[in-house]
């Protein structure tokens, strides 16, 4: 309806809201709406924080381990000597072979 619409004789004054009020209140609204966006972004970035912490712990354990090479590990050597025969043997293949799954996307 335009200002000259004969269906009504009164309307709200366009000066009900001063420019100062418009900028102040509008700024607060936009700032408050931005807060959840920041929070959601932070939650998305940290969603795999526990997996990253676990990975870091495993690397740290590995760095401080006394035996760091599998072919020097007495337990592994005993496994092949007494049970599996040798690496890539049929028994080793059946029990130890696994398929590759790219988990890097989940960690990014």
């Amino acid at each position: 309806m335009s200002k000259n619409d004969p269906s009504h004789e009164f309307m709200e004054s366009p000066f009900s809201l001063s420019r100062r009020e418009f900028i102040a209140i509008g700024g607060v609204i936009i700032a408050l709406l931005a807060l959840p966006a920041v929070w959601v972004r932070s939650a998305l970035i940290n969603r795999n924080h526990h997996i990253q912490a676990r990975t870091k712990g495993l690397y740290r354990d590995d760095a401080t381990a006394k035996i760091r090479l599998s072919h020097e590990n007495q337990a592994v050597m005993r496994l092949y000597r007494d049970f599996a025969g040798k690496p890539l043997s049929p028994v080793s293949e059946e029990l130890l072979h696994t398929k590759y799954i790219n988990r890097m996307k989940a960690l990014s």
Partner: protein
Amino acid sequence: MTESSFILKHPLRVRVFHYILAASFLTLAVTGIMLYFKLLAEPAMNTAMQVHVVAGVVMTLDALAFFFLAFDRVVLFTKRTFTFSGNDIKWFAILGGYPQKILLHKKVDVPPMGKYNAGQKLFGICVLVGGTLLILSGWVLWALPHAVPHGTASMIGSIHLYASWVLILFLFVHLFLGIYMWDDFKAMFVDGRIPYEDAAEKAPLWVKNELQRLS
């Protein structure tokens, strides 16, 4: 002024926003209650979920459109709903005189109010805060449930639930009083106009301070 004087209370863009908001929120409320109480068989529940999502998208687009196309109205509404005075406390003390009027058919003196009375201000705050929370939490729950930690998703689910209950319960009061104040109901759903006398009685401060006569 004459008896036929009218005030444009709700401009067209406000009414269009309200039409879509009312239709989408009622759909969301009904399907949300169905989903929460598991009222239907599984196929019907799936359909209810789909309708819930579509209505949620419609409500989001409606809110975004109004936010960007009528930001001045958003600011004005926010200012009005968050502006309080002693009159609002006095209004709440007698609940705007509505219980006396409806139950006892007795008219009591009501403190002068602006465009929105104290109860409408409280409802307005719930709509602004609760509606925003509902939209944001709904989108995270629907589009990003696996992208946020389990604890966060659970918390967002609780926010969605509590905000929806508050708004659904308020909706009953809003609908009842909306229909009870028939001139206001017609203004919002028909032509946006309200009789001058009605506005002068219910919103004297608005009529006195914020209106201009069209020449």
